[in-house]
Amino acid sequence: MAEVHFTADLRSFTGGVSDVSVEASTVRQLIRALDELYPGLGERLSEGTSVAINGEIIADATYEELPPDAEVHFLETLAGG
């Protein structure tokens, strides 16, 4: 199970829920599952978000595998200088 933590921006999609456990083995599966739970969230997560998996921020994580009990955060994509 992946443990997903939502920022305040994303909680408007989840009705205020800040944490949820979801069965998924890749980020793509996770986004699909989250969209089923919270319709519209999938599209939001697919545009301009990075994914932090167990603390490591990954810019393009769609096909990233999720280790067991992964801690997942969806974050704004960052630009460096």
Binding site: S12, E71, E76, A79, G80, G81
Partner: protein
């Protein structure tokens, strides 16, 4: 991360950590290096750009017929020569920024461009282009832009991340919020609460080399572009997008780059040069003047902030509330998101809220600038922390140490920190003699810390072994901060040959695999890891070839100091040069390529202390001493790392003390040159002392974190805190220019 599994970052190295002369040094000091403006092609035309004189205006009509008939003029382009904006909103913004369409959105916005035989002819033709404007009201800062009565720049801009979504458009592109705990409860627990408001002005990266591009478009519909950028693959992507072309029609060749700092991760001139060249049938070169660089390329945001922090008398921070609004320029996309994520990241906090707004104004579209956004939010937060520390009677380093994050702590932006070296930077400052140096009258000391994520992203490296035993390391990462040297050092370490036997090359978009921009402090980490892996493939190949000669299995061969030798010592070792000489009979050329989307990024922290003196009669600030301690993970080339640390501090001091865009009431910039836009020069600054802290990033083969950005995060607050101590009053509006300081001394009630 697979790359690090067989590596002990604490092991001793022969080349990594040494300080060889830079591979590009000779060409640069002798003037042989070719920068963007240096290229001359047969039949080449000179391009010039017509820019809007108005901050906000409807473009009623453009008549280029007189200009096209002028002597020497070979082509003219306007918005009509480019596809109607299409694609994602951010892509359309770039298309409209490169060439204005219905409206000019800032003074300097491109209206048309001309290519002619000479620069004088091109400039004369600009004057013959007839443009009819309908001038519109403009907004120049977040306060004006967020007012209910403000003119709305984009009539389709509905604020994102607001629930419910607004029905009417505004100049607020989006809202960002991070929060945790209970803010009211946290402030109720505090013994001390400090709240301040701050403002910062847009500042430019100040790269010495202006933007330049040469395009040679051929009748087959392809174009070769030479340009100064932080990433020629990105330039290819962006330029082809603006033109409506497949990227494969463009070949982009990197010129040497005279500074970027984030400002050359975007395009301005390239599509104009390609289209002018296409229409003229000849190569076209466009080079910005310095005033064009200021008026039309992206600075970083000006901002307004409100910061409130509470703490107990024992120094524990109990609550923090940060509100920020960032100027994005004429299109959405300020770094307020990153500013929000970094604002409180160095500290353990249970109760906090960070709210940020991305606001469009009639100024150039902002571009990245070293750790984009973080210096601005850090300025507010670290200034207030300084006051809180004073009020609870704690040394500012001790106060930060008491609240500092370490491995396993949850960052205010969500995830937990891996191995980090923040506390080590604090201790390094406290242990340095600068921290206890005696201060005289009108002198003050200021401390600040900062955090930046760093980045990984995509990189490719090819390593070729030459038949004389040397190696060529080919990447597509433009060398801005010493990456040629660091690539060569890591390759030397892996291959076991002298670093002078390795030639690092930055290749064009058709010669090497894809590389993302040189930005995010990522190249030594990501492209460096690709080089390491390519070298390891080559070493495995060399061991296999040597094994053939000894009729043993490859796993019975070890690679020691650039030589293959049987593990059992039954045969004399064979050098890389000897193996290279015989490559034809052992399997052909020796080459390897490694591509990856890099993982294992190591976060960076910096702590700095500034000593300065304020002249109470003039308000002038003299920086006396400056010390920066930064966790580099591992310094591959310590001299370059020190240079990065010093460069970030120098730019941050300029941001704090002098730099600002000044616009008149018409929204026209009044100081678009280095005479009136004052960046620090060598005579303005003392030697900036550096301490390279090395807490290795366990996810990188050599422990690298990335060093290019975080050094600019603390200086704004470190300088402001020192000025507050020296002048005995706090000034919360940057820059801390002599006029502003003198005004505070004479008029402040503080």
């Amino acid at each position: 991360m697979a790359l690090a599994e067989d590596t002990n970052p604490m092991q001793g190295f022969k080349w990594v950590g040494s300080r060889p002369i830079r591979p590009d040094g000779f060409d640069k000091v002798t003037g042989r290096a070719k920068f963007g403006a240096d290229l001359v092609l047969p039949g080449m035309l000179t391009g010039a750009v017509l820019r809007s004189p108005h901050a906000h205006a409807e473009i009623v009509s453009i008549d280029t017929s007189d200009a096209e008939a002028m002597p020497g003029v070979k082509s003219v382009v306007t918005g009509a020569d480019f596809p109607e904006p299409y694609g994602k909103p951010a892509e359309q913004d770039v298309q409209r920024n490169v060439m204005a369409r219905e409206k000019a959105l800032y003074e300097g916005h491109v209206i048309a461009a001309v290519a002619a035989l000479t620069r004088e002819q091109a400039r004369a033709a600009l004057g013959a282009i007839k443009v009819t404007y309908k001038v519109l009201p403009h907004v120049m800062n977040v306060t004006e832009a967020m007012a209910d009565s403000a003119v709305v720049i984009h009539d389709n801009m509905i604020t994102k991340n607001v629930d419910p979504a607004p029905e009417a458009p505004s100049n607020v592109a989006s809202r960002t919020v991070f929060d945790g705990g209970e803010l009211d409860k946290g402030f109720a627990e505090a013994d001390v609460v400090v709240e301040r408001e701050f403002t910062t002005k847009p500042v430019h990266q100040g790269y010495i080399e202006p933007h330049a591009a040469v395009a040679d478009t051929t009748p087959d519909g392809r174009s070769t572009v030479w340009c100064s950028s932080q990433g020629h693959f990105a330039m290819r992507t962006y330029t082809s997008n603006v033109l409506g072309w497949d990227a494969s029609r463009l070949k982009v060749i990197p010129a040497e780059i005279g500074g970027g700092f984030g400002g050359k991760t975007v395009i301005y001139l390239e599509p104009l040069a390609v289209r002018l060249s296409q229409k003229a049938g000849r190569p076209v070169r466009i080079v910005m003047d310095r005033d064009e660089v200021f008026r039309a390329s992206g600075p970083t945001s000006g901002a307004s902030l409100r910061v409130k922090i509470g703490a107990k008398n024992d120094g524990t921070i109990t609550a923090a509330d940060v509100w920020m609004a960032f100027e994005a320029g004429a299109f959405a996309g300020s770094p307020v998101g990153a500013a929000s994520m970094t604002a409180l990241a160095p500290y353990k906090l249970e109760n906090f809220k960070i709210e940020g707004f991305d606001v469009v104004v009639n100024k150039p579209k902002v571009a990245a600038y070293r750790a984009p956004g973080a210096p601005i939010s850090s300025f507010g937060v670290e200034s207030v922390l300084d006051e809180v520390a004073t009020k609870v009677g704690m040394d500012p380093i001790d106060f930060r140490m008491h609240n500092a994050v370490e491995q396993g702590d949850t960052a205010t932006y969500g995830p937990k920190f891996p191995v980090i070296g923040f506390k080590e930077t604090l201790q390094a400052i406290k242990d340095h003699p600068n921290y206890t140096a005696e201060l005289g009258p009108n002198q003050g000391r200021g401390v600040a810390s900062g955090f930046w994520f760093n980045a990984g992203m995509n990189s490719t490296a090819t390593v070729n072994i030459n038949d004389d035993g040397t190696a060529t390391v080919v990447t597509g990462s433009p060398d801005i901060g010493g990456s040629r040297a660091s690539m060569a050092l890591m390759a030397a370490e892996e291959l076991g040959i002298d670093v002078v036997s390795i030639k690092p090359v930055v290749a064009d978009t058709e010669t090497v695999g894809f590389n993302d921009v040189t930005g995010g402090s990522r190249v030594t980490l990501a492209t460096g890891a690709a080089v390491v892996e390519a070298c390891r493939i080559i070493v495995a190949d060399l061991k296999a070839r040597a094994a053939k000669g000894w009729d043993i299995e490859a796993d019975q061969v070890e690679w020691v100091d650039g030589r293959a030798q049987p593990i059992d010592g039954s045969q004399p070792a064979v050098s890389l040069a000897e193996l290279a000489k015989n490559w034809g009979r052992t399997g052909g050329p020796i080459s390897a390529t490694y591509s990856h989307n890099a993982r294992g990024v190591g976060a960076a922290f910096s702590t700095q202390v500034c000593d300065l003196e304020v002249d109470p009669d003039t308000g002038r600030v003299t920086v006396l001493r400056y010390l920066t301690a930064q966790d580099a993970g591992r310094a591959i080339h310590p001299s370059y790392v020190e240079g990065q640390l010093q460069g970030g501090v120098a730019q941050g001091i300029g941001w704090a003390l002098n730099e600002e865009y000044i616009h008149n009431d018409d929204g026209v910039m009044e100081n678009p040159g280095f005479l009136d836009y004052r960046i620090p020069v060598a005579s303005d600054l003392p030697m900036i002392d550096t301490v390279i802290v090395e807490v290795p990033n366990p996810a990188h083969p050599y422990g690298v974190r990335g060093v290019g950005e975080v050094g600019i995060v603390p200086p704004l607050a470190a300088v402001a805190n020192a000025v507050a101590a020296a002048a005995d009053r706090r000034i919360t509006d940057l820059p801390l220019s002599p006029v502003r300081i003198l005004d505070a001394i004479l008029n402040s009630e503080d």
